[in-house]
C-alpha cells in the first residue's frame, strides 16, 4: 500500500472514532473546544506512532521468534501505558504549558492507540508504514473530534428533549457523521489514489 493510501485509509476510511468507535472519553464524551480536540489528536498521533514502532520491534525481535504470540495483548498494553507515562513525564519536564491540552496517559487515548497498533500489526505493515498509519490515525481523530466538538457547541443552544441532552445526542450526531464518512470508502480510495 502506498504512503498516501495508508494516510487516507487511517485518517478517513477506517477512522478511529467513526469506524472503530474508539477514543471517546467518559464522562464528557466529546471535547468541548477545538484546542482540546487538536491536543487529543496530537496525543494519539504521537502515542500511536511510537507504539507501532515498539510493537513492530517486540513482534519481530521477541514475540514471533520465541513463539510467544499469545503474549501480544499484555505486551502491547504495557508498551502503550509505559510510553504514555514517559511522554507525560517528558512534557512535565520540557513543555509543562502543553499539558492541559494534550493528555497522557488518558484511558481513551490509550485504548485508541491500542486499537491502531492492533490493526497495524494484524495488517503486517512495515515499521515505516506503521509510523505513517499512527500519524494518520491521530490526524483523523483530531479532525473528527474537532467536527464533533463544533456540533456539540451548536447543539448546546438548541432545544432538545431533556433525556437526549448531552451524551445521547452526541452519539446520535456521531452516528450521522459516520454515515457521512462512508463516502470515503475503498472504491473512492482506489479511484483517487489508483489502488
Amino acid at each position: 500500500m502506498s504512503i498516501a493510501a495508508i494516510l487516507v485509509t487511517f485518517a478517513l476510511v477506517d477512522n478511529v472514532v467513526l469506524s472503530l468507535l474508539l477514543g471517546v472519553n467518559p464522562p464528557q464524551g466529546v471535547p468541548g473546544s477545538l484546542r482540546r480536540a487538536l491536543g487529543l489528536g496530537a496525543s494519539l498521533a504521537t502515542l500511536a506512532c511510537l507504539a507501532s514502532l515498539g510493537a513492530w520491534g517486540a513482534d519481530t525481535m521477541a514475540l514471533v521468534p520465541l513463539g510467544l504470540d499469545f503474549l501480544r495483548t499484555p505486551v502491547y498494553v504495557f508498551l502503550i501505558a509505559g510510553l504514555a507515562w514517559l511522554l507525560r513525564k517528558a512534557l512535565q519536564r520540557f513543555a509543562p504549558r502543553l499539558l492541559p491540552s494534550v493528555s497522557f496517559p488518558e484511558a481513551a487515548v490509550n485504548a485508541a492507540a491500542l486499537g491502531v497498533v492492533l490493526i497495524i500489526r494484524h495488517g503486517s505493515y512495515t515499521a515505516a508504514e506503521g509510523l505513517v498509519a499512527g500519524l494518520a490515525a491521530g490526524l483523523g481523530y483530531a479532525l473528527v473530534m474537532a467536527v464533533l466538538s463544533a456540533i456539540r457547541l451548536r447543539l448546546e443552544v438548541e432545544q432538545v428533549p431533556r433525556a437526549m441532552r448531552g451524551l445521547p445526542l452526541q452519539l446520535v450526531s456521531a452516528g450521522l457523521l459516520a454515515f457521512a464518512f462512508l463516502a470515503f470508502d475503498r472504491a473512492f480510495l482506489a479511484r483517487v489514489l489508483g489502488g
Binding site: 467513526l18 468507535l21 501505558a81 486499537g115 450521522l176 454515515f179
Partner: protein, 219 residues
C-alpha cells in the same frame, strides 16, 4: 437522576462502543459479553487478594524505615497491577475463544484484546481504592458485567433484527429470518452509534422516572 448515577450510565454506554461495533449478530454480542464478564469477575477475585498481599508486604518496610509510601505512588502501583491483571485475563480469554470458536475469534478480531483497556474493566481500579470486602467487590463486578451484557445484547438484538432482518444465535439455533427489506445501515458503525445514543437517552429517562417514583413513594 443523580450525577453519580448519570456518570455510571455514561461510562457503561461509552464502554459499549467498541463491543457494539464488533457485535453485528447476537452471537457476537454473547461472546463479547462473556469476555467482559470473565475479565471483570477474574479481576474482582484477584484484586482484593493482591491488595491484601501488597499491604502485608509493605508493613515491615514501613516499620523499618519509619516512612510510609506516598499515596500517589501506591495508586500508580495499583494502576499498573490492575493493567497487568486485565491484560493477562484478556489474553487468557483470547486463547480460550480461539480454541473453542476460532471463526468467532477471527470475526471479533481486534475487539477482544481491547477488553483489557475497556472503561468498564479499568473502572475496576476504583475497587482497589475502596476498602470493601472481596465479596462486595465481586458483587459490584457482577452487577457491572450484567449491565454491560444486558445492554450489549439488547442493542445488538435491535440492530440485527432491524438491520439484517434476522436473529443469529450460532449453529444450535441458526438464523431466524424476520423480514426481507431491512435497514442495513444499522449494521454499520454509524448504526451502532445511533442505537447507543437512543439507549443512553432511554437509560436516562428510565432513571429519572425511577427517581421521581421513589420520591413520590417517600411522600
Amino acid at each position: 437522576m443523580s450525577a453519580n448515577r448519570e456518570r455510571r450510565s455514561a461510562i457503561l454506554v461509552l464502554s459499549l462502543l467498541p463491543a457494539a461495533v464488533a457485535s453485528t449478530r447476537v452471537i457476537d454480542a454473547l461472546f463479547m459479553a462473556a469476555g467482559v464478564v470473565f475479565v471483570l469477575m477474574a479481576m474482582s477475585l484477584v484484586l482484593p487478594l493482591a491488595r491484601r498481599f501488597g499491604r502485608a508486604a509493605s508493613e515491615p518496610s514501613e516499620a523499618s524505615t519509619g516512612e510510609t509510601l506516598p499515596r500517589e505512588g501506591s495508586h500508580a502501583a495499583s494502576l499498573w497491577g490492575a493493567l497487568l491483571l486485565s491484560s493477562c485475563f484478556t489474553a487468557i480469554y483470547e486463547l480460550v475463544l480461539n480454541a473453542v470458536a476460532p471463526a468467532e475469534s477471527s470475526r471479533l478480531g481486534i475487539y477482544v484484546p481491547l477488553i483489557a483497556v475497556s472503561f468498564l474493566t479499568m473502572g475496576r481500579l476504583d475497587a482497589l481504592g475502596v476498602s470493601g470486602t472481596a465479596r462486595r467487590v465481586a458483587v459490584e463486578a457482577m452487577r457491572a458485567g450484567a449491565a454491560f451484557s444486558g445492554l450489549l445484547v439488547a442493542v445488538t438484538l435491535v440492530r440485527e433484527v432491524l438491520g439484517a432482518g434476522s436473529i443469529t444465535l450460532g449453529a444450535a439455533v441458526g438464523r431466524a429470518p424476520f423480514f426481507r427489506d431491512p435497514a442495513r445501515a444499522l449494521g454499520l458503525a454509524g448504526g451502532a452509534l445511533i442505537c447507543l445514543g437512543y439507549a443512553a437517552g432511554a437509560l436516562r429517562l428510565g432513571g429519572r422516572r425511577g427517581a421521581a417514583k421513589r420520591k413520590e413513594d417517600q411522600r
